[in-house]
Symmetry: C2
Subunit: 591 residues, 2 copies
């Protein structure tokens, strides 16, 4: 007997609560309060209502809920006193099947965690599609979270409790995120290919034109054919391009996609999610024998991360004619030139210029990507609409004052280089915050050869500043540089600030951003607009056609470029649904 | 024909100005204005009057004066268009006798310096007693000053101009700082002894019980005998102790002295000045066949710097019974234990406990020491009366936040460990400044493995806080630790702060401090009271008897623990005069 939305919306309160019994461990009050928001438009709507109830609960209530949970593979599991739901979940995650060493390790972690935070460690562990984590990854996550701040850990526990409730809710509705699962599975299967030396470490690393990289291209091209793309090819730089034709030959194309290369020891979703989400949509169109007024060109970009060669965005760059011939002579760590690597892979270097697209043939470019940041995770919102890919600058700097004796130099006679940087750092924090969407960071900071009893005479530091538009970025940079000058003058310091990087912002095309917004709202997901702090392939296409991106929430605090990068099949399903919605909007508009 | 104070005080204004003609390069207005302060009580009085005139002059006047000076070994020297005074000075410093390489180097420095600051480099260079700098050291100082801040360099130029005027003034009065010269010479002669490996580098390093160290003890004991001390011995820890008996056998003793060991690549005056100043006074008493109601015990302490063994203040500690037996088993870098080193030096380890002094036999302890800080140099005041040897604490700390992507983590969702430390650093600066005499320093600071695009998850730093009294220090430390806690709470950070050192303050005994004050004022030197930020042997004696210290100005910004440490024979003479004054006061009091 599975539940339907109609049933739930129609049931009297007590009955409805009974229908949702067990969502939150020993805490029916959450469900009861959320039910007051009926009628629900979608599963996503129910989930968000639940999130809101808990967010508005008193801190003691939240803590009570956290403490109502069993330890991971703890005494309750051993003594079989878990709730039915917990038993099922710990079982599926393989925790009932630990080696004695794993079990001992988890018990120690449980003890340490409880001593530190005063509540049990909670992780939604119901198997790979629930969290993306294997037994080993669960233990790694546990160890990592032990060093978090208590406030963060409390919030993280609540987020995991929601994820557990989401899985339990899906069960009640007999709901399966079918397409989300397929996207999940494609990513899982693709992650078996990893560069030499990394497989042994259980790490995912796929850099440009390695064997693993070429295997990925082969797999993706094969899957594209299976999905019903009309043309599939691996192009002259290694991009996998699948084209699903429009209803009429004269129709333009929508371009979409993302990259399949990874950083070293990276995650499974960075880039790849943006290939498989539209692939799932095209497969559905093909299954329905449906053609749209426009074609769909899905590109799995060969290179975005700049790991093997310093040629970041090579794949998307080639499509706008931005392939630099001098890259061909770059050598990797083993002395292999890019030219040799491309020849070895059978790519036709001479054809690269022909990859350049005629923008007039395209409606625009959209890209789905995992957020790679903490925002959606903290807000418990699965999707975010990108307003702009931030423009950025980087500076490498040094402040110079005068080293002197920390005991004998009075405060008013110092030229402390580090204090000048401290003042600048706090100004940058406040100046960026004032903009809302801007960020400014001093990521590198050190007093070279600092001694405990010497006033710092030098301080080396970096500055990274990003904003959704170039004028906003430039205004911030000008303010920061002016403050740097003012601080140096006032404190009798000198400084060098060398610009090491400058990238233009890529604001989303308003009409394309609006399409994503309409899609998200139609799903019953709260609309959340945000800039992208990181760079993406869409930045390159932005130079020749309108673009807009959709972000998908990352779990574990949004950690990325790390094996703990994670998402859920539920969220991937929502991304597929949103993408399909955009296709339908476009079909109506261009019909 | 030499000038006398009486003559100068009696002369009509124009005549007096003519008597002092040429003190300041092409700038008679300074002398003229200073003469308005007649009658002068002493040479020191005239010098301070000159300093004050220039300090109150308009910035353009100061700059005009600086620009009126010739370049060091510059075109004017080559073309022989220098003033007579300048020719004499550059000649004595050996600058007219440069090698072609040295000459080329100086020309390049002159060009760079002028380009950077817009005025010529000025250094009082009239031979070793003028500055303590050899030709090589002059060039090193030049190169070092090139990187100073323009404000500092302007002040440094003015200070050197005063030093030049002081030397010229001495010439006019036929004045020789005779005892200051002797103190200078003793220090110069002692500095030829340096540990193996450092002589080749031209560096001064004398660590506990090395051959150089034992040679220093031998030289000092020899000089003490020459000066007329009644008993001279090298004691069981290597201190050189000279006793000049009181008029009556029942008389108590005044103890004084400082250390003769050095840091690695140190200066010639740190410690040693405090041995030779009282030695010069005893020699004068002996020459005059004069006995005081009290005896004088001058101790050249064998060890203060803790360089070869971690046993700082070993020499003065032994006199108060604070010699730790476990030190004997400490090994130096070559594996030689302190016990072996002492036996090798022929010291009677068994006698160490007998070094402990009976405080009832002593009036108190005084110590003369070079300031090792910038204060007196900046104020152009030759002597400073120490109010207290500051008490201090040191902490080694780490702030922990959460490392995250500098692009994708909004400002309000960061836990930036470095920003927490930045805030603390600025608070410490302000909190210490609010006390006046306290200092607080973050000398070590780094974001380990920081990346330009990663929000700092960790930041390591040190804290050093010192104050003239323990309650003042403890109040500051409590405020800083409270702020640290508050910052961590507010920013969601965690921290560790480990106490690594805690030393009690040693406030000067009021009656002893007053004796120094009376002496300084009697000399016509402005009275300036200041705490000692660094530790000194007086801290140990403080535990058993009253003590007070006198500081002597250091040149070159007060640089110390460095070969550029410098002073002048004039200032040393003032220290001898002040010491003699204290002896006379005591003689009157105890008569």
């Amino acid at each position: 007997m599975t539940l339907t939305l109609e049933q739930l919306n129609a049931a009297p309160a007590a009955e409805a609560a009974a229908l949702l019994d067990g969502l939150y461990e020993h805490s029916p009050w959450i469900t009861e309060a959320a039910l007051a928001q009926r009628p629900f438009r979608s599963m996503a709507h129910i989930k968000h209502a639940l999130v809101q109830v808990l967010a508005q609960a008193a801190p003691e209530q939240q803590l009570g809920l956290i403490r109502a949970h069993p330890e991971l593979a703890g005494k309750a599991m051993v003594s079989k006193t878990l709730t039915a739901e917990s038993t099922n979940e710990q079982n599926k995650a393989g925790l009932t099947d630990c080696t004695p060493e794993e079990f001992a390790r988890i018990q120690q972690l449980n003890a340490d965690y409880n001593a530190r935070f005063g509540f049990p460690f909670i992780l939604a562990v119901r198997g790979p599609r629930g969290t993306g984590l294997t037994k080993k990854e669960i233990i790694d996550t546990f160890a990592r979270r032990l060093s978090n701040h208590p406030d963060f850990e409390r919030a993280e526990a609540l987020r995991n409790i929601h994820r557990i409730a989401e899985i339990r809710l899906n069960d009640k509705f007999g709901y399966e995120p079918v397409l989300g699962n397929d996207v999940w599975d494609w990513q899982e299967k693709l992650s078996v290919h990893t560069d030499p030396g990394y497989a042994e470490l259980g790490q995912l690393t796929v850099t440009y034109l390695t064997d693993a990289h070429r295997a990925c291209a082969q797999r993706i091209s094969h899957w594209m054919r299976d999905c019903g793309f009309d043309e599939v090819e691996i192009d002259a730089v290694g991009n996998v391009v699948g084209r699903y034709r429009p209803a009429a030959e004269s129709g333009k194309y929508l371009m979409t996609g993302s990259h399949y290369d990874t950083v070293r020891n990276g995650g499974k979703y960075d880039g790849r999610l943006g290939i498989f989400v539209p692939m799932a949509c095209v497969r559905e169109l093909h299954r329905q024998h449906r053609r749209l007024p426009f074609g769909i060109e899905v590109v799995a970009f060969a290179e975005e991360e700049g790991q093997r060669y310093k040629a970041t965005f090579l794949g998307s760059g080639a499509l706008i004619g931005d392939f630099k011939q001098e890259w061909l002579d770059q050598k990797d760590a083993d002395g292999i030139t890019m030219r040799e690597a491309m020849e070895h892979a059978g790519l036709c270097i001479a054809d690269i210029p022909r990859l350049r697209r005629d923008a007039a043939q395209y409606l625009g470019f959209v890209e789905v990507h995992i957020e790679q940041g903490p925002v959606l995770n903290e807000l418990d919102i699965p999707l975010g609409v990108v307003t702009s890919i931030n423009g950025g600058v980087r500076y490498v700097c040094e402040m110079t004052g005068m080293a002197s004796h920390a005991g004998t130099t009075p405060m008013d006679r110092r030229r402390d280089a580090a204090l000048g940087v401290a003042e600048l750092a706090l100004y940058m924090e406040q100046r960026a915050a004032q903009d809302g969407d801007s960020v400014a960071t001093i990521g590198m900071l050190q007093v070279p050869n600092g001694s405990i009893n010497v006033v710092p005479g030098r301080c080396q530091f970096s500055m990274d500043m990003r904003a959704p538009t170039d004028p906003q970025r430039d205004a911030m940079v000008a303010d920061v540089l002016a403050r740097l000058e003012e601080i140096a003058q006032r404190r009798g310091l000198q400084y060098k600030a060398e610009l090491s990087m400058k990238a233009a912002a890529a604001p989303s095309a308003p009409e394309w951003q609006q399409r994503w917004e309409a899609a998200v709202q139609a799903l019953g997901v709260p609309l959340y607009r945000m800039p992208s702090g990181a760079g993406h392939d869409a930045m390159k296409l932005h130079e020749v056609m309108p673009q807009a991106m959709l972000f998908v929430r990352g779990l574990n605090g949004g950690i990325s470029h790390n094996p703990l990068e994670s998402s859920t099949a539920d969220d991937m399903q929502l991304a597929v649904d949103a993408f399909a919605h955009v296709l339908n909007q476009l079909a109506q508009e261009t019909a």
